[in-house]
Symmetry: C2
Subunit: 202 residues, 2 copies
């Protein structure tokens, strides 16, 4: 072995030992509260990726879309056409608030979505429940954050994962979450006049 | 209508008009160079979500995993068991560098993965090609960044989307990318002793 290769092997062996030691302390299992927020892309996409993971593992899951057509029609079509046995899909919202322009109706729809969400989370058969774009409903106070936090703290079954997405996640939600990722926008093709495209954005 | 409801409707109508005006200027279509980077979670998960979107739309796609078992075995199993007609899947790497501890072998594997990636990108039938964890191969200089940048700039078919993931994306890659998202770690359950769990992390 050359000196360089040997140094590399030694360095990596040390790194592996350190990593294995750390990982050996991570033995707990629990249902996580996961939040995807930030202005960047990938919040819903990564959440739907987790739903596909559950499908792959045969774990029953459920999705409530608080905002219809959160640009994820591809995933919805795929789940509805192939995987309804493993994933319940409920699209409760009617569109972004600036599309409906009707606050009373938006509030009613968000409330109905939240009631459905609670029902799905309480059902222990669901191993993961995705509340897509709920942060928007919370931000407009259609669903009070205190109600969401209290429900998750007191009624979520211990082993159920709940994933909440949308910009501007409320601090109180981040406080109780186990795993929070902020998707930060570094560069976006809209800036150079490119429209939303199939496969990338929906 | 109450005053409050009317104010809301007017405000949202304005917002919609402004948004529609902006969106009407976004008419271009092109194959994007998409980068998911940062220390947070969701880089590969969101990229695989885009692959599932392509599958949903019947768009042929391909995946090259530069690091084997980048914690996404669920997606791989699902694609290999159900969607090989629409998505080619190549796992070329053998593990993280600290697992293999062999620089020569890591370099050979990364080079082979990059050769496969070029072949898949050149094939115009593929509408999206995901190079999962390539940023790690670039960072260790197993694949020179200049070679990747030049290939994408000169040989990528105009309408093909290429998605590159992994921490520490090289500045030269960010420079030529159309869409860059940094997944930022806000909170991680490892910190409280919880291990990687099915459905969430793999």
């Amino acid at each position: 072995m050359t000196d360089d290769a040997e140094r590399h092997a030694q360095k990596m062996a040390k790194k592996k030992a350190a990593r294995d030691k750390i990982m050996s302390t991570k033995t707990g299992e629990k249902g996580l509260i996961v939040v995807h927020t930030g202005k960047g892309k990938g919040k819903s996409t990564a959440a739907f990726g987790m739903i596909f993971r559950c499908i792959a593992h045969g774990m029953p899951s459920a999705v409530v879309q608080f905002i219809k057509g959160g640009m994820s029609t591809g995933e919805r079509d795929l789940i509805l056409s192939r995987f309804t046995d493993l994933c319940q899909f409920h699209t409760m919202g009617e569109g972004f608030t600036w599309e409906t322009q009707d606050k009373t109706r938006d509030t009613e729809m968000a409330r109905a979505a939240w009631e459905k969400a609670k029902e799905l989370i309480r059902d222990e058969r669901n191993k993961m429940v995705l509340l897509d774009e709920i942060n928007i409903a919370i931000r407009y106070d259609y669903v009070p954050v205190a109600e969401v936090v209290e429900f998750l703290a007191t009624e979520k079954p211990a082993m159920t994962h709940v994933v909440l997405t949308g910009r501007n996640a409320h601090d109180d939600l981040i406080e109780i979450a186990d795993l929070v990722t902020e998707m930060e926008l570094v560069k976006h093709p809209f800036r150079s006049g490119v429209k939303a495209q199939q496969g990338v954005e929906f």
